[in-house]
Structures are given as structure tokens and as C-alpha cells.
């Protein structure tokens, strides 16, 4: 799975949680929760759906590493890579 595919999945899942927003307009360094106005509950739902879609488990202590689009994509790519190896 490449970066573009992951990005699309992220957009799709965010759109489901925050249908009134346009996730694809997110800038790489913007705080996702702040810009899309996502609360902790929806944030958890998002993490659950990422888990269901990609099989990646994000532990609570890593929440700080996935606050922007860029960091989230990098985090997921790294996780996928380590899963393969």
C-alpha cells in the first residue's frame, strides 16, 4: 500500500466521521482534530476504523504521533512496513 492509497483511506474514514467537512483539503501540517472539529469520541471511532481497515493497532501513548496528516501517514507507513518484515 502506498502513501496515496493510505491518504485516500484516511480521507474516506474522516469524511464518514465528519461528513460536513472536506478532509482532502487538509494541509499536511494541520492538526486534524482541530481543523475538522473532531472530539475524543469521534477520534476514537476513527482509530477503531483505521484498525478495522488496515489492521494497525495504535496504542494510546502514540496518539500524540498522529495529530497531523503528515505524521499520521508516516506513522501508518512505518507500521505497515514493520508488519511486513
Amino acid at each position: 500500500m502506498n502513501e496515496e492509497e493510505i491518504k485516500n483511506i484516511i480521507f474516506q474514514l474522516l469524511k464518514k466521521i465528519a461528513p460536513d467537512t472536506e478532509p482532502s483539503a487538509l494541509q499536511p501540517d494541520e492538526n486534524i482534530r482541530e481543523v475538522l472539529n473532531i472530539d475524543s469520541f469521534d477520534s476514537l471511532q476513527f482509530i477503531v476504523s483505521l484498525n478495522e481497515k488496515l489492521g494497525i493497532e495504535i496504542p494510546e501513548e502514540d496518539y500524540g504521533k498522529i495529530s497531523t496528516l503528515k505524521s499520521l501517514i508516516n506513522y501508518l507507513l512505518a507500521k505497515l512496513k514493520s508488519q511486513l518484515s
Binding site: P19, S40, F41, E57, E60
Partner: protein, 429 residues
């Protein structure tokens, strides 16, 4: 029995001399009748009576001089008039300030207008009569404070909501029970009013969108709250380090799908505290009525604006994990406007958790007829002093707004103390 008092016919009058009784014991009098002639500094004045009824007894004799306010006669109102007694008594005092030169008839007219007459527009009166609304309970916003059509209709909308709550039907936010497919403007409105069981002519001209309907329901409930409930506010800073550590620890063992959020812990802690301070788990309707079940309303804000308050039934008998499961089920459906009526009714207290936003604390507005609302702010790292030591801890500001008719600050204070205790011992939950 009504007392007929020596009236004050001007601020400077201290007493008066009864010159002649115009009525005798056993006579029937009605408002405006001349009952006596009284000599004052300003001359001989005819005194009217403002009560209706039969003169039971004349208490003073002709020629007697008595101070203002002295009972002069007893009047026995007929059964029907008995109700009006208090009013007429107060009216009598008002008369004191009337200039004596004024005609008796005018006095009666003017006073009765001020005291009894409710200013309402004709159509407002008509609607009130049709719907059985007591206009004396309605605040007027029209010309010179007259009650208008809109004022009455607002009350009708509120009343519909209250009566539903009483009947254990859905409270205000139930508007959203309607299936989303139906939430197209037209059918939604139809549903809205059907639920209220009162054909309201209001707003027929334009259908409400779901967001507008929710907005107006929130507006009605909150206006009522602000109008009727004297709120008191308390605030407590709670050290969350133990609670957050406990959540972290617990979540480590849980699959992602079952991870806990602090909100679940808050709800459980509130439920347990209510077990100890039961006066806050109650409604105020003709007095304080304690509730046995602890059903916690949890404010969910909608992305499109407005709020919905689904209920976590019997939260005290559920574990934190079970509460989280309920939230996982309720919140997405609440946001999709797919709740069932049972999930919107019977809450006995409300929790608002604005913590996600930028505000540090929230002072809630009580959802009538409940008597308290608990507000949880943002969990932030703060300098926290304890045992002479300063540390950086996760801290949450918890607020409580209480209905001061129902409880006092000391009750709320006990509650917050108890809540703090539970949050310092999360494993006990």
C-alpha cells in the same frame, strides 16, 4: 372573611373619622359601592368598597376616629368570589395613593386594569383559550408588554415538551427521533407537532429543518430553565492523574474497540456520587421529587449545531466498560438522529462534557425539570499543589449548576466532594 380597612386617601392621611355607615350588617355589596362616609383633613369623603359579598359585621361606630389600616367591617365573600380575596385585599392598599379628587368609578376601573387585567392581543387570547394556556404565566414581548401570538405559541411549544417529560415520554431533544429519511423539511415538521399532540398553528407557513427544530427545542427548554430556575454554581478542580493512569492501564488490556474514554469514567463517577447525594438525582415539579433510578443524560453536540441528550439508564448499576459500550452505541446514532424515544427520556440529571474544545470549564444550564447539571471541562496539565509540593498534573475543572429551589450549595458541594473521591480512586468504580 375579608376585612374592610380604613383607607389612606393620600400619603399624608393618618386617620379618619367614620361619619356615617351607608351600609348595614347583612347588606350585599359589590365593588364600587359606597360603604361609608369618612371625615379627613381633606373633608368628607365617600369610601367605596372593593370586595364583593355580604357585610358580616360593622366593627366601628359612627363618630369613631381610627388610624389608617384599622379594620372597619367584615365582609363575607360569596363562594365564587372567595378566590379573589387576596387580590382585592391588596387592591385596597393600592387605593390609598389615589388622589381623593378622582371619581370613584375611575378608581375602580383603573385599579382593576392594573391589578387584574392581563395585556394580551386578541389573537393571543384566542389561541390561549383554545389551547388552555394560562396567560398570567406568559411573559409579553409586544407593545407595552402585551402578550402576543408568538409569546403564547412559545409557551405551547414548551408545554408540549414538559408534559412529555412528565408522562415519561421523550424530552425536548426527542425531536430527533424521526428517521433521517424523513427529515426532509415537510414531514419532519409534521412529525414534530404530532409528537406534541397539540396541533400548533405556529410556523405552518414554513417547515422547519431538523437543525432548526432542534435549535428551537433547545431554545425553548433553555429559556424556560433560565426563566424559572434560580441556578447556583460550584466548581471543583480535580486531579486526574490517578484516573488517567487507570484508564491508560485498563486500555492497555482492551482491544481498540473497547478502549475507554474519560467520559465513561466521569459518568460512572457521577452515578456513584449520586448514590451518596441523592437530592441531586431528582426533578422539581411542585416540590422536590427524588428519583430512584439514576439515569444520566449525556449532552452530545451535533456537527450541524444544536445538542441531543441521550440517556444512560441506571448508570449506577453499570460498569465503566458497560457505560463505554452504551456510549459507543448511542453517540453515533445520536449524531445520525436515529435515537429511540426511550433513549431520550427519563434522565434524572445531565452531564455536559465540553472538554474537547478550547474552553477549560463549562457552567451548564439545567434541563428542566431536573435540578442539576454537571459540567466537565478540558483535561489539561496544570500546576497542582498537594502536601506542600507542586507538581504538573492532568487536571479537570468540574462544575455543578444546581436548582436553588431544590437544594443548597452545601448539597452540591458534598456531591463534588464525593465525585472527587471517586476520581481519586478510579478502581473503586
Amino acid at each position: 372573611m375579608t376585612e374592610f380597612l380604613m383607607p389612606s386617601l393620600g400619603a399624608d392621611m393618618e386617620d379618619g373619622t367614620l361619619v356615617e355607615w351607608r351600609k348595614k350588617s347583612g347588606d350585599t355589596v359589590k365593588r364600587g359601592d359606597i360603604i361609608a362616609e369618612v371625615e379627613t383633613q381633606k373633608g368628607l369623603i365617600e369610601i367605596e368598597v372593593f370586595d364583593e359579598g355580604v357585610i358580616e359585621k360593622l366593627l366601628i361606630k359612627e363618630g369613631e376616629k381610627v388610624p389608617v389600616g384599622t379594620p372597619m367591617a367584615l365582609i363575607n365573600p360569596d363562594g365564587a368570589e372567595a378566590e379573589a380575596k387576596k387580590e382585592t385585599a391588596s387592591m385596597k392598599k393600592e387605593v390609598k395613593l389615589q388622589p381623593i379628587e378622582e371619581k370613584a368609578e375611575q378608581k375602580v376601573m383603573e385599579k382593576s386594569t392594573k391589578e387584574i387585567r392581563i395585556r394580551a392581543t386578541p389573537i393571543a387570547k384566542k389561541i390561549a383559550q383554545d389551547k388552555g394556556i394560562d396567560l398570567s404565566q406568559v411573559t409579553g414581548t409586544g407593545e407595552n408588554g402585551a402578550i402576543t401570538k408568538d409569546d403564547v405559541e412559545n409557551v405551547i411549544v414548551q408545554k408540549g415538551e414538559i408534559s412529555k417529560t412528565e408522562k415519561g415520554e421523550k424530552p425536548v431533544d426527542n425531536l430527533v427521533e424521526v428517521e433521517p429519511e424523513k427529515t426532509e423539511a415537510q414531514p419532519f415538521e409534521a412529525e414534530l407537532y404530532k409528537m406534541e399532540k397539540q396541533p400548533v398553528e405556529v410556523k405552518k407557513e414554513r417547515a422547519l429543518t431538523p437543525a432548526e427544530a432542534i435549535r428551537s427545542a433547545v431554545a425553548a427548554a433553555m429559556s424556560k430553565s433560565n426563566r424559572e430556575i434560580p441556578h447556583y454554581y460550584l466548581e471543583k478542580r480535580v486531579d486526574m492523574s490517578k484516573a488517567m493512569a487507570w484508564i491508560k492501564e485498563t486500555n492497555r488490556e482492551r482491544p481498540i474497540q473497547k478502549r475507554l474514554l474519560p467520559a465513561a469514567l466521569f459518568i460512572k463517577a457521577v452515578a456513584s456520587s449520586l448514590d451518596e447525594v441523592s437530592e441531586l438525582n431528582a426533578i422539581w415539579e411542585n416540590g422536590l421529587q427524588l428519583k430512584n433510578e439514576i439515569n444520566i443524560g449525556f449532552v452530545v453536540s451535533l456537527r450541524t449545531g444544536g445538542i441531543i441528550v441521550p440517556v444512560i439508564l441506571q448508570a449506577d448499576s453499570k460498569s465503566v466498560g458497560e457505560i463505554m459500550e452504551v456510549l459507543n452505541d448511542l453517540i453515533p446514532r445520536a449524531r445520525a438522529l436515529k435515537l429511540r424515544s426511550s433513549e431520550l427520556s427519563d434522565s434524572t440529571i445531565t452531564i455536559t462534557n465540553i472538554g474537547e474544545g478550547s474552553a477549560d470549564k463549562v457552567f451548564g444550564v439545567i434541563y428542566p425539570p431536573q435540578v442539576a447539571i454537571i459540567g466537565f471541562g478540558n483535561i489539561t496539565e496544570q500546576a497542582f499543589a498537594e502536601n506542600g509540593m507542586l507538581g504538573i498534573r492532568p487536571v479537570v475543572d468540574v462544575t455543578l449548576a444546581g436548582d436553588h429551589r431544590a437544594t443548597d450549595g452545601i448539597t452540591g458541594s458534598r456531591f463534588l466532594g464525593s465525585l472527587n473521591k471517586y476520581l481519586q480512586n478510579p478502581e473503586s468504580l
